[in-house]
């Protein structure tokens, strides 16, 4: 016994990433929040719109992060949930005259149900097979939206035009700025809720399933329930993002929600760092701005340039923004000493 103890206590103690590290430190969070609040005041409307989209895609990436980073399930079908959310908001606003803010929780709930149901058959699949099944969902969705049967509601191939809301209470700010702050409040709310979810008992159950499914069920975790729950939560948040996207872009059409969107979101998650929620906004920035940068470098070969940039990121920082954050933290720690 004593001999064993001696041997083990000599080994260097490797500290795990503590739970706190799933989020940002208090100070860093405030700085980021401050920037997000102040920046739009000095930007032109078009850039404010882009920042709104940044937040919206960040939400969608965060949703995927909960599913993949949290419960270990892959999805290439997030664009389908995003589309359902977008169409729910658009149809409620344009056909039924529902207030734009009220359409979001409805979109969230409908997508939660949709995701939860989709999670049932997905229970039998894992890893690459689940990726393929969700891929099929993403491929099918734009065509389903074009069906003549739904055309009265969805507008078919033409899609639907959505009216942009004005700032309420006669606030003297532009529509774009108002929508940005509206989105920011929702994004912060969902971010905080997600962090708390992953720290809760359910979050622990998600992560147990991700790490070792058999052991998780041997601990009494209801694997089927938590896996479908993860799908539901992820789809619900994606649906809210989709609804916000419809309002911001002022337009929904089937071809806006193809598999390309799903792959972009997946990319965003990897670049941001799988399982690291604050990385979602970095990943979102990558999928929004890097294609633009690539186009500046070469118009004809923008896809190839994007590919090279992506390759560089994956090669240099395979764990994404999370890795950069950890290195930066260590550097700061050294400087302080």
């Amino acid at each position: 016994m004593s001999a064993v103890e001696e041997v083990t206590s000599e080994a260097p103690a490797v500290e795990a990433v503590p739970k706190r590290a799933m989020t940002l430190g208090y100070g860093t969070s405030l700085v980021v929040l401050g920037l997000l609040i102040i920046a739009p005041m000095f930007l032109k409307n078009f850039f404010v719109f882009q920042m709104t989209m940044l937040l919206i895609y960040a939400l969608a990436v965060l949703a995927l992060n909960i599913l993949t980073g949290g419960s270990g399930q892959f999805s290439l079908g997030q664009s389908a949930f995003y589309a359902v959310g977008a169409y729910t908001s658009a149809i409620l606003m344009e056909h039924m005259g529902v207030n734009y803010a009220l359409t979001l929780p409805i979109a969230g709930i409908i997508c939660f149900g949709f995701g939860f149901l989709f999670g049932q058959p997905a229970l039998r699949l894992s890893g690459i097979y689940l990726a393929l099944a969700t891929f099929a969902l993403a491929v099918a969705m734009p065509q389903l939206l074009k069906l003549g049967f739904f055309e009265h509601w969805t507008g078919g191939v033409q899609g639907l035009v959505v009216t942009k809301p004005d700032a309420p209470f006669g606030l003297p700010i532009s529509q774009d700025r108002w929508l940005y702050y509206f989105t920011l409040v929702i994004a912060i709310g969902i971010y905080i809720a997600s962090v708390n979810l992953l720290r809760s008992r359910s979050g622990r159950a998600f992560m147990a399933i991700r790490d070792n499914e058999i052991a998780a069920s041997a601990m009494g975790v209801d694997v089927a329930l938590y896996k479908t729950l993860a799908f539901g939560v992820s789809a619900g948040i994606t649906g809210v993002a989709g609804g916000l996207g419809a309002i911001a872009v002022q337009f929904v059409a089937p071809d806006g929600y193809t598999i390309t969107l799903a792959i972009s979101l997946f990319l965003g998650m990897v670049v941001g760092g799988v399982g690291w929620l604050p990385g979602s906004i970095v990943g979102s920035a990558f999928i929004i701005f890097v294609p633009n940068i690539a186009e500046h470098i070469s118009k004809g070969l923008s896809g190839a340039v994007f590919g090279v940039l992506l390759f560089l990121v994956i090669f240099l920082v395979p764990h994404g923004a999370r890795q950069v954050a950890i290195v930066a933290q260590q550097l700061i720690g050294k400087l302080k000493k």
């Binding site: 083990t8 206590s9 080994a11 992560m207 147990a208 790490d211 069920s217 041997a218 009494g220």
Partner: protein, 237 residues
């Protein structure tokens, strides 16, 4: 002594392949029983069938309640902890988070905190490493963590699947000593599946030997240890 677990005519299947061919055995409350057998004999399958992780037929009763048709998590909730083969460590979580997960079915927060402290007394090395990522522990430490995590359920019965696998002999002995202590002091009934027959027979009071999905021998651990055939095939002398 009453039988705590009663298994009758257990047959288990992996797809078309039948792995168990009518196994019957029982465990007495408070006992420490070992199930011996070579590779592929059906030891792991037996444990999995008790927890309903594989398709099986036959009757399994735990404290008089039938287990067939119950989901794995419900079986666990009845007080049966399963330490799976290969330890089943939640590698990216810390040692302490692993222990908390063992108690995920419990609602008494104070009791859980107290039990974690108790586990640290049983396994001091886990206390030393409680903030460490569990995947970075050595094999022996991970096995101790797996046992400690299973105990966090406050089980009445603990099923252990080859706890000695891949561990240094010294560590195995330490682990088995702790298992004996848990069995005596905490009154946890234990069923341990082993290939390391010698140690298992030293520790256990009762033993079963299985071959190709059937029980071929049963008796007190001492009887089995002295049996000519067992000595030749499993103990090697």
């Amino acid at each position: 002594m009453t039988a705590m677990l009663n298994v009758k005519d257990l047959r288990a299947y992996y797809g078309q392949v039948q792995a168990l061919h009518g196994l019957s055995f029982s465990l007495n409350e408070g006992s420490l029983t070992t199930l011996l057998g070579a590779n592929g004999a059906g030891k792991t399958t037996t444990l999995r069938a008790i927890c309903n992780m594989v398709r099986s037929t036959g009757a399994i009763e735990f404290e008089g309640k039938p287990l067939s048709g119950q989901s794995t998590e419900n079986v666990v909730r009845l007080g049966i902890a399963h330490v799976p083969q290969g330890r089943g460590t939640f590698t990216t979580m810390t040692v302490e988070e692993n222990l908390q997960l063992g108690a995920i079915t419990r609602n008494d927060k104070k009791g859980v905190v107290a039990d974690i402290e108790r586990m640290y007394e049983h396994f001091p090395v886990l206390k030393e490493r409680h903030t460490q990522q569990a995947g970075t522990l050595s094999g022996g430490e991970q096995q101790m963590l797996a046992v400690a995590r299973a105990l966090m359920l406050r089980p009445r019965l603990m099923l252990l699947d080859e706890p000695s696998f891949g561990l240094a002999p010294l560590i195995v002995r330490e682990l088995f000593n702790i298992l004996g202590k848990i069995n005596r002091e905490d009154k946890v009934t234990i069923l341990v599946v082993e290939q390391n027959a010698q140690l298992a027979l030293e520790l256990a009071d009762k033993a079963y030997v299985i071959e190709t999905g059937r029980i071929v021998m049963s008796g007190s651990a001492a009887e089995i240890a002295n049996n000519e055939d067992v000595r030749k095939s499993y103990l090697g002398y």
